[in-house]
């Protein structure tokens, strides 16, 4: 210790990278490359395609100029915005009323109401559209209610979208409303504040961010949805269907890319705005808050029960119509019941094979997706150093939420079908469907994983390294078991969405890998509407079965681990 220390102190210490660090960084590079291939490169292909002519020559903004010079195309922007805004207002209002009844009243049957409201999540967006045809179509059961208006157009689209987006809005608003502090209400009451004023000064401000967030979510879901307008849109053109028509109908890939880019704009805008709003949200419920407990009030409870009852009946009714229609021999001429329409192999555009393909695809998506997402989130959350790489990966994890499925699917064609792409072998395989679906639903899964990981003690990794135990061992033995509920949530989320999604996969399925949701569209196109309804119901039952399995598994795990899980 003579001169050494002095000489050493002058220079910056360069930390030796441990074996753990190398493994983590290696893992992050792998995840980073995966995200580049699955998200960034395809989107870049789409972007560049929109600036090319049909021979691949760069033409600048020519395609865009053509787009805006064609009224038939750019009118869709207005149409899309109109139905998205209308659906948003209706859905969020209904969801708020429903959530208000569930959280602030003493009406009976709350659990059943909650369960019913979540059913539409299990269905492809095509299902409400098919039901609406049976109800309000040319030979509809109650078409008189429309007073001569046609269901094929904005009315049908909005009705279908409200059904399909209702649970998404409900979950968000329910969370916002259930985190109320009873003390604020007591304070308001003790000051003699009227019920109405309390609603506007306490309830609404408390739920403000939830409502705003629900608005963005519904708006984005509707403007990017392909299923409902495809089935019931008639001649009312919207952006998502335009993309499909340009590519599949007219084989005009450049124009498809342009419409995709146009569709990306509002989705990206809504996404950014939502992020900003959420950043402003602070925890309103402090640890010392007293949860609000509603008190019985006969009149109010009855009103809420009526509101919720009507909404719940509508949901069950639409589902029931699809189920009934799929069993009727020949609507409306021969109303006797038959299982004939479930014989998908006899139908144009459908087969039982599609159902099995869907199961296979959803299974792989759940298994691979959960593994990739959770490992990726763990590495991003727990690794040290590598700051820029980590920030980049986090950004890439957020992008998929802003990308409409139909745009993602189109981007995948351009990227994987490009003759120069060494990954071209994936085109028209099950692999590309799985990859595309994982990507489509990556962000929500990632955020679920991050939330669970943030609740872990940040020192687990430090303790392991002090005990000379490699991090991956602690990951397997501690992190994964502790986060198991979140891992199951992610896998069932991926499975159900893989079963119901249409938009992203409609471009990239092949004859061998047709999916159930795509079969619904194809059978509907071929006029086999009863079979389309039957297939849609099969998807609902499969998703519901998976949800039930998830529920039982989660309960089993909770029982098994109650010894060590607190609370």
């Amino acid at each position: 210790m003579a001169n050494g220390p002095q000489a050493l102190t002058a220079t910056t210490v360069k930390a030796k990278v441990s074996r753990d660090d190398w493994v983590m960084r290696g893992g992050m590079v792998v995840i980073g490359i995966y995200l580049l291939v699955a998200v960034i490169f395809p989107l870049y292909s789409l972007l560049s395609k929109s600036f090319q002519d049909e021979f691949g020559k760069f033409v600048g903004l020519a395609n865009y100029a053509e787009y805006f010079a064609t009224p038939a195309l750019f009118f869709s922007i207005n149409n899309s915005l109109t139905i998205s805004f209308t659906s948003m207002v209706i859905t969020v209002s209904l969801a708020f009323g429903y959530a208000y009844g569930l959280t602030r009243s003493c009406m009976p049957g709350k659990n059943i109401f909650k369960a019913i409201a979540l059913i539409p999540i299990l269905a492809p967006s095509l299902l409400p559209a098919i039901s609406l045809r049976y109800l309000f179509g040319a030979q509809g059961m109650i078409k008189e209610l429309l007073m001569g208006e046609s269901i094929y157009g904005p009315i049908g689209i909005v009705m279908g979208e409200v059904f399909w987006t209702f649970p998404h809005a409900l979950i968000i608003i329910l969370t916002a409303l259930s985190t109320a502090d009873a003390r604020l209400y007591e304070a308001a009451e003790s000051m003699g504040t009227s019920k109405l004023r309390t609603f506007f000064t306490v309830t609404l401000p408390g739920a403000k961010y939830g409502v705003i967030s629900a608005c963005f979510v519904v708006f984005t879901l509707v403007i990017t949805d392909f299923g409902v307008p495809k089935v019931i849109g008639g001649n009312y053109n919207v952006l998502a269907v335009d993309v499909y028509k340009q590519v599949v109908g007219q084989q005009n890939f450049q124009m498809g890319a342009v419409v995709g880019m146009v569709l990306l704009a509002p989705a990206l805008l809504a996404f950014t705005a939502d992020r900003i709003v959420q950043g402003k949200q602070v925890a309103l419920l402090s640890a010392r808050a007293v949860p609000y407990q509603p008190r019985p009030n006969k009149r109010f409870d009855l009103i809420m029960l009526t509101v919720c009852g009507i909404v719940a009946l509508t949901i069950v009714g639409l589902l029931g119509v699809a189920q009934y229609a799929s069993l009727v021999k020949l609507w409306p001429y021969n109303m006797s019941l038959t299982l004939h329409h479930y014989d998908f192999d006899l139908r144009d555009g459908g087969s039982w094979g599609a159902m099995f393909n869907s199961l296979e695809m959803a299974g792989w998506t759940a298994v691979i997706g959960t593994t990739v997402v959770f490992t990726g989130a763990y590495l991003v959350e727990k690794s040290k150093g590598f700051t820029h790489g980590r920030g980049l990966i986090q950004l890439m994890c957020m992008i998929p939420l802003a990308v409409p499925g139909i745009v993602l699917g189109l981007a995948y064609i351009f990227f994987f079908n490009h003759p120069g792409n060494p990954l071209g072998f994936m085109y028209a395989t099950m692999g590309i469907l799985v990859m595309c679906t994982i990507t489509h639903f990556y962000t929500v899964s990632h955020l679920t994983a991050v939330t669970a990981l943030k609740q872990m003690d940040p020192e687990f990794e430090a303790v392991s390294s002090s005990l000379k135990i490699p991090f991956y061992r602690t990951f397997i033995r501690v992190t994964v078991p502790v986060c198991m509920p979140a891992i199951l949530d992610i896998s069932v989320y991926l499975f159900v969405n893989a079963m119901t999604t249409v938009s992203a996969v409609i471009f990239i399925y092949s004859a061998d890998t047709q999916l159930a949701s795509v079969a619904v569209i194809n059978m509907d196109d071929a006029g086999e509407i009863a079979s389309a309804a039957a297939m849609a119901m099969m998807i609902v039952y499969t998703s519901a079965g998976m949800r039930l399995l998830h529920f039982l598994l989660t309960r089993g795990i909770a029982r098994q681990s109650q010894a060590w899980r607190k609370r």
Binding site: M1, P5, Q6, L8, T9, A10, T11, T12, V13, K14, A15, K16, V17, S18, R19, D20, D21, D457, E459, F460, A462, V463, S464, S465, S466, L467, K468, I469, P470, T474, R477, V478, P481, V482, S561, A563, W564, R565, K566
Partner: protein
């Protein structure tokens, strides 16, 4: 553990600086820790004590400077290549593993057979008096028991250095006092070199062989608990450890200081101060005496008892010097003293600041 008995330091820290962006968390720290010593890093939150501990552990490696452990330069090594056990404030026990599995976690990687691991685990559990709790999960134990499991886990691999990061702060007061004693005894028994971070001066005073008082990224003083308490090296240490009267004064000649009209002699002297310089006179409330004062007693003066506050085992009195520029100070008097001398609010009292108990710092 005296620091200059010719022992070789087990851990030496030289010129350690840690930057977080533009913020300097540690400034050129130098410190030696000796074999089997129990050292406490004491300071307010944000003083850099945890940062220094994490640098020693390799969890947040210092920006500059170097650290040597048992003769080996460990400055740049990752935690997994250093030799230490660590207990965090949160304990970081693995919730899904039993107490035995937690304690034996670090043994699995060593090539030990199952029976040996089991024996070692039960030995450790006995050591922390949890012999019969091995099959429980951490959530089923009390905070104090969890803390002991964390300690047993950190000691399982017989590390050369034990690092404790505020290990007792999450516990309630009674358990904390009991565990102080337990941890200290255990450390003494095993003879493992230990560094503990704490913001609790009482904890540091009762447990440490040596205390390192830190403030704003630098070491203010290193010394035994008694040294730190009796001879604080700076006003910061004087204020942070124990209770202290800070009284304004003026330096006189030949080592005296003036507090208003009262002239005081300080045994430790007033080095480097010229006559007339402003000084701060420090005296602890419990060092103010009122009993057995004679005309020979130095530093005696008349004071007025302004307030008398009963605190159970003693009284805390607020007094003022009876001069034009009223100086207020506090004194702790025993219940006996108050009774025997008949101390009352609003009454005068003759008090003295013992020469050996006065500290004088330059400036105010």
């Amino acid at each position: 553990m005296a620091k200059d008995n010719g022992q070789k330091p087990y851990l030496s820290i030289h010129g350690v600086t840690k930057m977080f962006g533009d913020f300097t968390a540690l400034k050129d720290i130098a410190l030696q820790v000796y074999e089997s010593e129990f050292v406490c890093f004491l300071g307010p939150s944000g003083c850099g004590k945890t940062t220094l501990l994490r640098a020693i552990a390799g969890l947040d490696i210092q920006t500059k400077g170097h650290i040597e452990q048992a003769g080996q330069d460990i400055s740049a090594l990752p935690p997994s290549e250093r030799d230490f056990g660590i207990v965090f404030q949160s304990y970081a026990l693995f919730p899904n593993l039993t107490v035995s599995k937690n304690v034996g976690y670090g043994l699995e990687n060593k090539k030990m057979n199952k029976a040996d691991v089991k024996a070692r685990v039960s030995e450790l559990l006995d050591l922390v008096s949890l012999g019969d709790q091995g099959d429980k999960y951490p959530a089923q134990l009390s905070g104090g028991q969890q803390q002991r499991v964390a300690l047993a886990r950190a000691l399982a691999t017989s590390p050369g250095l034990l690092l404790l990061d505020e290990p007792l702060s999450a516990l309630d007061a009674k358990v904390r006092v009991y565990l102080r004693h337990e941890v200290k005894q255990l450390q003494h028994k095993l003879g493992v070199t230990t560094i503990m971070v704490t913001h609790d001066q009482e904890e540091a005073l009762t447990m440490a062989d040596r205390i390192v008082v830190m403030n704003e990224g630098i070491i203010e003083q290193v010394g035994s608990p008694l040294e730190i308490y009796r001879h604080p090296a700076s006003p910061f240490v004087a204020e942070f450890v124990g209770t202290m009267n800070f009284l304004p004064g003026i330096a006189g000649n030949d080592g005296t200081v003036h507090m208003g009209k009262v002239e005081l002699h300080a045994r430790e002297g007033v080095n480097g101060l010229g006559e007339g310089d402003e000084v701060t006179i420090c005296v602890r409330p419990e060092d103010v005496i009122a009993r057995d004062i004679t005309s020979d007693t130095p530093n005696t003066f008349d004071a007025m008892v302004d307030e008398l506050e009963f605190l159970g085992s003693f009284y805390r009195a607020s007094l003022s010097t009876q001069s034009d520029d009223d100086t207020n100070f506090r004194a702790d008097f025993s219940v006996n003293l108050v009774r025997d001398l008949g101390v009352k609010e609003g009454q005068p009292l003759i008090v003295a600041f013992p020469e050996s108990r006065i500290r004088v710092f330059a400036g105010r």
